[in-house]
Symmetry: C2
Subunit: 215 residues, 2 copies
DNA sequence: CGGTAAGCTGACGGCATGACAGGACAAGTG
DNA sequence: CACTTGTCCTGTCATGCCGTCAGCTTACCG
């Protein structure tokens, strides 16, 4: 599928090279969790990986290039978020469960990848098309499924005609992503993690169906 | 209110000094809009302001310090967002209008300050307390008002008891902020600006009152 | 064992950082 | 007008990271 892994100067990477490359990615990933993106230096990543800066530049054009790589890997996993909505229904009690599981799965994914997602979010907000595309890849699966659900309910007359399914779905997905990034923020509003989830699920359910869930 | 403006080495800044300082802030602000935060260098800001890097360091400890200054100024203005909710009602047609005006005002504020808000968001997400506090200052006013509205409706029995007002309010505010930061993203989902607003207002109304608006 | 390509690094010019001392400038004083 | 005072700005410098290259080492293959 993807051709061979190549170094910046065009050579194909062998087993050893790929290991080094991966180690650099792992170390970068770790550094992103522990220090501000702005302060992540090539030399630190290289030191942490027990190699030299020159080696880093053999595999990546710059820090951003390596970050994109990590983000791509994550986006590939993130595409699996679709499963949270595949074959689910929004009617009755199972609708409430669908909402809850969507919120759960989404927050969990974000929690696991928060460091890299922060950077992706920033890049996308700054207008960088590459980051923007990656963000889309992750959100699109969920967003499209949600939009489809809403559109279907709409065609059955169970949702108002003047609702734009894509807009509502996008807003809900953006909400989930934002809340996940700033979970700590809620504690200072006196909201605990456990309380947050059902309330998010409520909002999702309200947004999709226009009705309160029957629990 | 705030004591005199001081240079890094403790001297009080005069009229000329304050002008230079402000010019540096303005130029930094402009650079943040046009290039990635990570790539904003002191030397560029100084050049743009027609001064030298050394001058910059006379007024600010580093780029981040200056960014915080800009963010504080913005947060002060942002506190005015409370007005969007003061004395408003959520009943009937005026409830729908309240939601619309909140969305409008919020998006407008975000659009005006998007560059600096991106950086604040990133800093807050990375766990920097100073940025976090500024983000709070802006969101708190809106959030508290919203939470109060919900709590009031709840006490009248018009909203379910198991709703946590602060959680719902926080999620809605986070949604508005996120959508504002990624407005461009919606166009690739085929959603136009003008369509977005009423759908956001709908979600806000649903979240606060638990019911569809009567238009 | 020799050839070839992959893998890594020391070293270097270039540039941003951040500190300092001293010069330029405005304003008040005799 | 000369002199003083305190603010304001910049030239310069040591330091450290960036990004590149030539060249050395290692692994694989016939």
């Amino acid at each position: 599928m993807t051709g061979q892994v190549r170094t910046v100067d065009g050579r194909v990477a062998g087993r050893r090279g790929q290991a080094t490359r991966q180690k650099l990615l792992d170390c970068l990933s770790e550094m992103l969790s522990s220090s501000p993106y702005r302060d992540v230096k090539v030399i630190d990543v290289a030191r942490k990986a027990g190699t030299s800066p020159a080696t880093f530049y053999q595999y990546f054009p710059d820090v951003e290039g390596a970050v994109l790589e990590i983000a791509e890997q994550m986006a590939a996993e993130g595409a699996g978020l679709t499963e949270l909505l595949e074959g689910r229904t929004w009617a009755g009690k199972s609708g409430w469960q669908t909402a809850q599981e969507l919120v759960d799965g989404f927050l969990e994914f974000w929690r696991k990848n928060d460091a890299i997602l922060r950077v992706v979010d920033l890049g996308a907000a700054e207008g960088d098309k590459r980051f923007y595309k990656i963000r889309m890849k992750i959100l699109n699966s969920v967003n499209n499924s949600l939009a489809d659900s809403i559109a279907e309910l709409q065609s059955k007359g169970r949702v108002d005609k003047d609702v734009n399914p894509a807009a509502v779905a996008g807003a809900l997905v953006a909400m989930l992503a934002a809340v996940a990034s700033h979970q700590k923020g809620f504690s200072s509003w006196g909201v605990k993690q456990a309380e947050l989830k059902p309330n998010l699920a409520l909002l999702v359910h309200l947004g999709v169906t226009g009705r309160k869930p029957s629990k």
